[in-house]
């Protein structure tokens, strides 16, 4: 027996922390860390629902694997963009827009 309040609460906390991280960071790479936390909140919710049985086709676990893969692809492209920005501007500070 496991009570689902724990996973649900942790998912809510991780989503809130990720939102804070996205909004409170100026370094573009650190903004990505916030995005990762939000994605982990979503996957934790999927696994928690999968653990409570009754999901057909093992959907909770399979969709978590898919989300992890998509997150890897997203980080790959996002870091390429960050590197291109760094090469053109000399820094990755998001709060100082320049032409």
């Amino acid at each position: 027996m496991i009570h689902l309040a724990g996973p649900y609460l942790l998912a809510a906390v991780l989503a809130g922390l990720g939102t804070y991280g996205v909004l409170a960071r100026r370094n573009a790479v650190l903004v990505l860390i916030g995005v990762e936390l939000v994605l982990n909140a979503a996957t934790l919710l999927l696994v928690a629902v999968g653990a409570s049985a009754g999901d057909r086709w093992a959907a909770g676990n399979v969709l978590t694997l898919f989300v992890i893969t998509i997150a890897a692809a997203e980080v790959c492209v996002a870091l390429a963009v960050v590197l291109a920005v760094f090469r053109m501007r000399g820094d990755v500070d998001l709060s100082e827009p320049r032409s």
Binding site: L17, G21, V62, S95
Partner: protein
Amino acid sequence: MTGLDLAFAAVGAIAAASGLLAVTTRHVVHAALWLVVCLGSVAGCYLVLGAELVALVQVLVYVGAVVVLVLFALMLTRAPIGPRAEISTSPLHRTLAAVLGAGVTALLASVLLPLAHPVDRHETDTSVLSRELFGTWVWPFEVLSLLLLVALVAALAVSRVGTSREEGA
């Protein structure tokens, strides 16, 4: 309160604390390293919830690949060593961000917690999971491999933006 609940509370507390440190620390590299602890303990949460394969993939892909990519990006963008205040926004922005983050947490918790109830943990067997993955889900799986290829090519193309301009191509 069963043993599983206690185990989940332990790893969940580590995940929440290290996640908080990852978004608040003033050391750029420490943020990435706290992210390792956070993602690793989320993998522990998956183990407690009975999803072994997902926990292993979390460790392999997230801790192994994504965090290494983040660390590489930090190094390539000449991340400063030591505590720096300028990696975060101003105190006013941070206060607003904290209010919004707390609001997200409160909203999600108020929606989800009334739905929570004790359940018999349903362990997903790896053989069952792989049969579903390569049976029911095989086409999404193939499309996902295509997505990875496109992301790889796009990353190469985007990272060449600055260089091709200098060459005048």
